[in-house]
């Protein structure tokens, strides 16, 4: 059976990284603007 772990982890990892990074950037910009 072929191991697809790399592809599955890659897809979910990219999604988590992109959304997590964007959420962090959004929060930091919001905090800065609110001051």
């Amino acid at each position: 059976m072929t191991d697809y772990t790399f592809y599955i982890a890659g897809a979910w990892g990219i999604a988590a990284a992109v959304l997590g990074g964007l959420a962090l950037q959004t929060f930091c910009a919001w905090r800065r603007a609110k001051k």
């Binding site: 592809y7 599955i8 897809a11 964007l22 959420a23």
Partner: protein, 236 residues
């Protein structure tokens, strides 16, 4: 009600109440969706475990189209009625829409390589989604290129409205052309062809992405409003 929330102050009051609720709903839906995707859904009889990529790829694709459409509608409302919050919404939502489109493209490539043997093919669905991504990036670049903020918003609004022609192309590409990408499994007119064991995590992740988008879009909109207020405050 729409005109009521054209007032940034009233909008901020609504946003303050809505944002924590949306974040909480996003956390719940995404947790449930991730659990169901990995621990409580079967492997596909043809694709095996790679079907789990579907639970992030398809919701991201839905969000890519939904966010662009909402931006174009807001841009139209902003142009026609000079609705302040609507004008700022498109600029706030654009990075989120671009992010979902990027996730769709990258997860699609990671799904395509083991299944089709290719990271990328120039079929109608993939190409039109790539064009959608270019529209997002182009919009952000266009709006940022103007020194006069209002001119940038207006130019960007026209680009968004023109780019709406691509949305039905993306949606119906798998019907109009002979594509490698598979046709839709969920349509409004027929019962889903997908098993409930797979439909549940798919819809949970879609709900989670939607709530997360809502929360982050509100936060970015608030940032835009605060930024404008700070500009006025600093100028006086």
């Amino acid at each position: 009600m729409i005109t009521k929330f054209a007032n940034p102050g009233k909008f901020l009051a609504l946003s303050r109440r809505l944002m924590p609720v949306l974040f909480a709903l996003a956390a719940l839906s995404l947790s449930f969706g991730v659990y169901k995707s990995f621990f409580d859904s079967p492997p596909d009889y043809q694709q095996g475990e790679t079907v789990r990529i579907m639970y992030v790829h398809v919701p991201a694709a839905w969000m890519a189209l939904f966010v662009y459409t909402s931006m174009a509608v807001a841009a139209f409302v902003g142009l026609v009625w000079r609705h302040v919050v609507a004008e700022l919404y498109a600029r706030a939502a654009a990075p989120l829409g671009a992010a979902f489109t990027l996730i769709c493209l990258v997860s699609g490539a990671l799904w395509g390589k083991p299944m089709w043997g290719a990271w990328w093919v120039w079929d109608a669905r993939l190409t039109s989604v790539l064009i959608l991504f270019f529209f997002y990036i182009g919009y952000m670049a266009l709006v940022a290129a103007f020194d006069d903020e209002q001119k940038g918003i207006n130019a960007g609004a026209f680009l968004l409205i023109v780019g709406m022609v691509n949305v039905p192309v993306v949606k119906f590409s798998v019907d109009w052309w002979n594509t490698l990408h598979q046709p839709a499994s969920l349509t409004r007119l027929a019962a889903p062809s997908i098993d409930p064991a797979m439909l549940t995590p798919l819809l949970s992740m879609a709900a989670g992405f939607t709530f997360l988008f809502g929360a982050l879009a509100l936060m970015r909109l608030e940032t835009e409003i605060f930024r404008r207020r700070n500009q006025v405050r600093d100028a006086t």
